[in-house]
């Protein structure tokens, strides 16, 4: 890989973004890449906006994705996807959970989706992961794993699905492992 692969994930506090970050980082290490990530903790994450940065490649220095250089923006919530646009280039691919967690002053879903679709030329995958996971597994919280699985199976992340699955087993606590694996398998279909 000539240059590093840069991922921004976003969502709101409590959606499991740090777990997602750990899984991607472990999978990248499994495939022999250098990897650096950045995350934030503390009060601002109590239901507020959360973004994490994940970069992997032959050699990675900065843990932060520069403006306009994200290859993939993976978002668990629609408004939070739109907030990440300044990391995007015209080629950036978006994988977005069709899930709106409304808040005072926030925009409606239609408007948000339109804004995202109008940006650049990269593919936009807007998938009702929360709805699918709730319906099929009874748990919305694994929608992040669902989206990640979707992204690797569509080759939107240069990592093998096998590595991601291995990383899931390493990162996710035993008692939630089965549920997470199911979400991973569900997205293959």
């Amino acid at each position: 890989m000539a240059k590093s692969f840069n991922i921004i994930t976003s969502g709101t506090g409590g959606q499991g973004l740090i777990t997602l970050l750990q899984i991607i980082a472990e999978a990248a290490l499994l495939e022999g890449f250098d990897v650096k990530t950045s995350e934030l903790h503390g009060l601002s994450q109590r239901g507020g906006s959360v973004e994490t940065h994940i970069r992997f490649g032959n050699k990675v220095y900065s843990p932060l994705v520069s403006l306009g250089s994200a290859d993939l923006i993976l978002s668990l919530e629609i408004s939070e996807a739109l907030k990440m646009l300044f990391y995007a280039s015209p080629k950036t691919v978006f994988v977005i959970n069709k899930n709106l967690i409304s808040y005072p002053g926030g925009f409606e879903e239609k408007k948000l989706i339109q804004k995202i679709k109008n940006f650049g030329k990269g593919s936009k995958y807007i998938i009702p992961a929360s709805e699918i996971c709730q319906k099929e597994l009874g748990k919305e919280v694994v929608s992040g794993i669902y989206l990640l699985s979707y992204a690797v199976h569509k080759n939107l992340i240069p990592l093998k699905p096998k590595s991601i699955l291995k990383a899931v087993s390493k990162v996710v606590p035993e008692k939630y492992l089965d549920l997470n694996k199911k979400a991973f398998e569900l997205a293959k279909k």
């Binding site: 709101t12 506090g13 970050l21 750990q22 980082a25 472990e26 290490l29 250098d34 990897v35 650096k36 990530t37 950045s38 995350e39 934030l40 903790h41 503390g42 009060l43 601002s44 994450q45 109590r46 239901g47 507020g48 906006s49 990675v60 220095y61 900065s62 843990p63 932060l64 520069s66 403006l67 306009g68 250089s69 408004s79 939070e80 739109l82 907030k83 646009l85 300044f86 990391y87 995007a88 280039s89 015209p90 080629k91 808040y103 005072p104 002053g105 926030g106 925009f107 804004k115 109008n118 940006f119 650049g120």
Partner: protein, 551 residues
């Protein structure tokens, strides 16, 4: 030796384990909290003594006692914690240590999780004459922790490892040694009386200062030789002449990573001096580096401490050298690659527009890029007991009541839709400042303080309001845990806040479960009419913790 993905804070723990740490104390604070959380999980198994202390000062003092007894100690805190601990820190540098001691201090440029100020704790290095190391990434966080133990042991001084959010909360593959020695610390310590060493009193104290300054001189020599102050890309003179007008870079901390990234994007290989030591500085190495340069750009976050030192050194060795720093880099907020690209671009007269990837310009130039979406504020978790208190206050407090805030989740009382916070400064100050307002006006005042903050430094403030006869209402938001930093235990487990208030001489005390909003409302109304100090302990478990426990 194997590679393992570690968070910066976990890497510090790993470094301490590899250095054979015996005794660890901390008070939680973002971005340092995971150090304590990790030790809490592993300490018993590893035979390490670990505690969440009541505040940072007593955490440091506990470690001083352990060090005086010969143990290897680590103390961790966030920047503001060092302010609290500083009273013990300064004399500690005079006495020196017996068992080695590393103090981890985490700063938070951009105030991602810090309400009080954008504190740059590096200034404590000068204030206390304490050696300070600054790692750039998680691997260095581990390596520098081990080195800090080594320096501390060799020179008999405590050493500060100063991190920032982007180091503490950075993950990367770290080379770890899983075969470190496990010993049982409790059997090892012995306090050997040595009055000359452990008692700071005049006239001995001034001799101690002299000894301290001598130690720092020796550490400076050590720093000159140490490889964590390293020069990169230092080309022979002719080759350099052709390059970028003899520009060099001096950098420390996480900014080093941004510099490497920036130079790669700009396709430049400027000479870099990367400083792992912040104090004392390897002056000879710096002088050697700047001797032949025309310009040097000093890249550091926040205040220009390094820049000032380098300007002084330049005067001696290369008076014509142009030392640049904060004239082209911000003093507020953290740095990032883009800012450094732009600064270097200016210095080598490369048009920045050509340096930045076209996509950046496109994204910031399009409507979508400029598109502003309203901020999503953090909010109280569903079922949070704090919100119940706030509901009662809204109903009970007369118009014009002043609301004193403190450090904890209940700071969110200041955000919409609640907006019940008229001042907020530092731990414990809700009570301390309420007292001054009460003495200056006839206005009604309610001070909010959490359980952990109450124990941390709230108690002396409570004693003061009783002793000096204040007329305020204190509501202790007791959710039975230190919630904001990730559910660490606090003294409330064993010591009841109402008992403390009673012992401090408070007459009006009531414990109320905030789910009984009516009772809370009536108690607030009643206590606001009373003379003197009143305390309501609003007691109900943190909703997140309750959920965790039920799982």
């Amino acid at each position: 030796m194997k590679k393992q993905i570690l968070l910066g804070n976990e890497a510090i723990v790993q470094g301490a384990l590899e250095a054979g740490v015996d005794f660890v104390s901390t008070y939680p604070g973002t971005p340092a909290s995971e150090i304590g959380n990790t030790f809490a999980k592993i300490a018993e198994k590893q035979g390490i003594y670990f505690e969440f202390s009541t505040n940072e000062k007593v955490a440091l003092e506990a470690a001083i006692g352990a060090s005086f007894s010969g143990l290897r100690c680590l103390v961790a805190m966030k920047n503001f914690g060092l302010n609290v601990a500083s009273d013990a820190l300064l004399p500690l540098c005079y006495t020196g240590i017996k068992g080695p001691m590393v103090i981890v201090v985490a700063d938070d440029p951009s105030c991602w999780s810090s309400a009080q100020s954008e504190e740059n704790s590096r200034a404590y290095a000068y204030l206390a004459h304490i050696p300070m190391l600054e790692p750039a990434d998680a691997q260095e966080a581990k390596d520098f922790t081990k080195l800090a133990f080594e320096i501390s042991e060799k020179f008999k001084l405590p050493v500060i490892l100063r991190t920032t959010t982007r180091v503490a909360h950075q993950r990367m593959p770290v080379i770890v040694n899983s075969k470190f020695k496990i010993q049982n610390s409790k059997l090892k310590g012995k306090f050997v009386k040595d009055v000359k060493r452990f008692v700071t009193m005049p006239p001995r104290v001034l001799e101690m200062k002299e000894e301290l300054l001598e130690k720092i001189e020796k550490i400076k020599e050590f720093a000159e030789q140490n490889k964590i102050n390293k020069i990169e890309n230092y080309l022979p003179a002719e080759a350099r002449r052709a390059k970028a007008g003899k520009l060099g870079i001096i950098v420390s901390g996480v900014s080093y990573l941004y510099v490497k990234e920036a130079l790669e994007k700009l396709e430049l290989d400027l000479p870099i001096l990367k400083l792992g030591f912040f104090y004392p500085l390897p002056e000879k190495k710096i002088k050697n580096f700047i001797k032949k340069l025309k310009k040097v750009l000093v890249i550091e976050e926040l205040e220009p401490y390094l820049e000032k030192e380098i300007k002084i050194l330049a005067k001696e060795i290369n008076p014509k050298l142009e030392v640049l720093g904060k004239d082209i880099l911000p003093q507020i907020g953290e740095l990032k690659t883009e800012i450094i690209i732009s600064a270097i671009g200016k210095l080598i007269n490369k048009k920045i527009k050509n340096c930045l990837p076209a996509e950046v310009l496109l994204a910031s130039g399009t409507k979508a890029g400029k598109f502003k979406i309203p901020v999503r504020f953090p909010r109280f978790c569903p079922g949070c007991p704090h919100t119940m208190v706030l509901t009662a206050i809204k109903k009970a407090a007369p118009k014009g009541t002043i609301f004193g805030g403190d450090i904890g989740c209940y700071m969110m009382a200041g955000l919409p839709p609640h907006e019940l916070q008229d001042y907020l400064l530092c731990m414990g100050s809700s009570i301390g400042i309420a007292h001054g307002i009460g003495k200056s006006t006839n206005q009604k005042i309610i001070a909010f303080i959490g359980d952990s903050t109450f124990f941390h430094v709230g108690i002396p403030a409570l004693v003061n309001v009783v002793f000096n006869k204040s007329n305020i209402l204190i509501i202790v938001m007791d959710n039975l845990i230190t919630a904001m930093t990730g559910h660490q235990p606090n003294p409330g487990e064993k010591i009841k806040i109402e008992d403390v208030a009673r012992a401090c001489g408070v007459k009006n005390i009531k414990v109320v479960d905030p789910i009984n909003i009516k009772e809370m409302e009536e108690t607030i109304k009643e206590f606001l009419e009373k003379e003197g100090v009143s305390v309501i302990v609003s007691r109900r478990i943190c909703a997140l913790l309750a959920k965790k426990q039920n799982k």
